[in-house]
């Protein structure tokens, strides 16, 4: 064990934490995960802003078809523009920053951490071999001023899979302390995962879920705010795995059933690199899982992981913001939206009548394009 640990130790930066895992698992008897080929390329580095921005070069080789750029800066970070190898601008922040349709949260300076998956839809040009340039901006919180001399650390994962018609999404489900001992909960989760598989099957996607235990507290942090415990937990996930943490409550309450860290989320460990879910709200007032509760929990899993893979709600509850999919209607009232989008998996609320709900398992073609282009869909 000493030898394998020493062999892994020199591997640097964030990659070391993720790639050391197979060695550790060998030593602890989990050989079935050793030698797992994630099908992802990996580079990392740091850039310093000049004139408020820094260029990141993403070298794409055939047959890489998507990349996931994760940044962590001294200041808030947002994507400014993306250029293809010919120098053509294929994405510019001004097209999306104030638009009523949402394509990626990477365009908004929300935090020091930023995640960008590219391409996003089929409408964006496919990747091809060459050097792509992503320009990132460092922005001061509050003033919105661009900052010079600001360091941005980044990782780039590339997807070595040319197919956008089918894919496997690896998920590490982490139970918080004690929840893995609640048989009624784990049984319901297993059944919900089956429901999730059923939902994704027509889209050519298969979730492969590896379940683990942890000593995490059952009251989970709100993943969108970031948390060191999420960072530490996801360090133990494989580099192609989406981390789904399953506990009791979120942020001390049941206001949230599930939360995705960001849209999209990253496969590299950061403070938002997970989806969190609480079982109490999903079980209902009687604290037991009916068949319908389980079905809806499976939809919630698919919904939250859908956010993590880049999907926005087709319409927000304010009915004045929509996703950037041209095949999801831009409806503008509760009645109209429920009528036209009520069966869509990413609709913000279930459509129910106090005691039963319609199945929400549909995705539009463009929504499927987004899921299939997520770098973790291999």
């Amino acid at each position: 064990m000493d030898d394998t640990t020493n062999t892994a130790a020199p591997i640097e930066a964030k990659m070391s934490a993720m790639r050391i895992i197979p060695f550790v698992l060998l030593a602890t008897g989990c050989e079935e995960f050793a030698g797992k080929d994630p099908g992802l390329g990996y580079t990392d580095g740091a850039a310093v802003t000049a004139a408020g921005v820094a260029d990141i070069t993403v070298s794409v080789t055939n047959p890489e078809s998507a990349f996931l750029l994760t940044a962590d800066g001294d200041h808030y970070v947002a994507v400014d523009q993306i250029k293809d190898p010919e120098g053509r601008v294929v994405f510019h922040w001004e097209d999306w920053y104030s638009a009523s349709t949402s394509l990626t949260s990477a365009v908004w300076p929300l935090d020091n951490e930023m995640v960008l998956n590219w391409p996003i839809r089929g409408e964006e040009a496919d990747l091809y071999a060459g050097d792509w340039t992503v320009t990132l901006a460092a922005i001061e919180a509050g003033s919105g001023a661009y900052k010079n001399g600001s360091t941005i650390n980044y990782t780039v994962q590339t997807k070595d899979d040319p197919s956008f018609s089918n894919g496997t999404v690896s998920v590490r489900l982490v139970y918080t302390e004690g929840v893995d001992e609640l048989t009624e909960v784990t049984t319901a989760v297993d059944a919900a995962i089956e429901r999730w598989r059923e939902i994704w099957a027509p889209m050519g996607l298969t979730p492969v879920v590896r379940q683990t235990s942890s000593s995490l507290d059952g009251d989970l942090p709100y993943a969108g705010d970031g948390s060191e415990s999420i960072y530490e937990t996801t360090l133990d996930s494989f580099e192609d795995e989406i981390t789904l943490i399953f506990g009791e409550t979120i942020d001390g309450s049941n206001e949230y059933l599930g939360v995705a860290g960001s849209i999209p989320g990253t496969l590299t460990a950061n403070t938002r690199s997970a989806v969190v879910m609480g079982w109490i709200a999903n079980a209902g007032a009687d604290g037991s899982f009916s068949d319908l509760d389980i079905s809806i929990m499976g939809e919630t899993m698919a919904h939250e992981v859908g956010h993590f893979m880049g999907l926005f709600h087709p319409v927000e509850q304010t009915y004045d913001r929509w996703d950037a999919c041209d095949d999801t209607p831009n409806c503008a009232s509760a009645a109209d939206c429920e009528d036209r989008l009520g069966t869509n998996l990413m609709y913000p609320a279930p459509v129910c009548n106090l005691t039963s709900c319609v199945e929400q398992d549909q995705l539009s073609d463009v929504q499927v394009e987004i899921l299939q282009r997520y770098t973790g869909a291999l």
Partner: protein, 143 residues
Amino acid sequence: MIATLLILSGLAHAHEPTEAKPVEPTANQEALYAALKPRDGAPDCESLRVHSDDLATDLLWLVDNATQPPWVGVRAAQCVIKHHHTAQAERIKSWMTSPDKRGLAILAMGLLDELPKELRVELSAAALAGPLAEDAKKYIAVP
């Protein structure tokens, strides 16, 4: 003849202490239900006041009648526990000993720290002595 039987049947039950549950929600209850339904978060309890002038009663109606999606009743109960616990203490206490309200009992156990000491002790004692004692032992620190 049928009408007569129905009338007599109604009279026979008129004095029985059964709770009459409304079949359909009121407009306020419907508005609350819509507000508590979203997957990715619900408004805070204070902001729900715009939907009802008798918020605790309407929230409790949802607890008893809205079984889907499952989180609506839980969220409604959470607001009752956090903001109406004094007036609804007996109702909350009843959840602590009702197996068919086990989810609400576990919810309340997790919120005990936010309640006045006297009520906290009363609810804890009820839970630990009742049919949900096994759950209570997990969530309530017994000195």
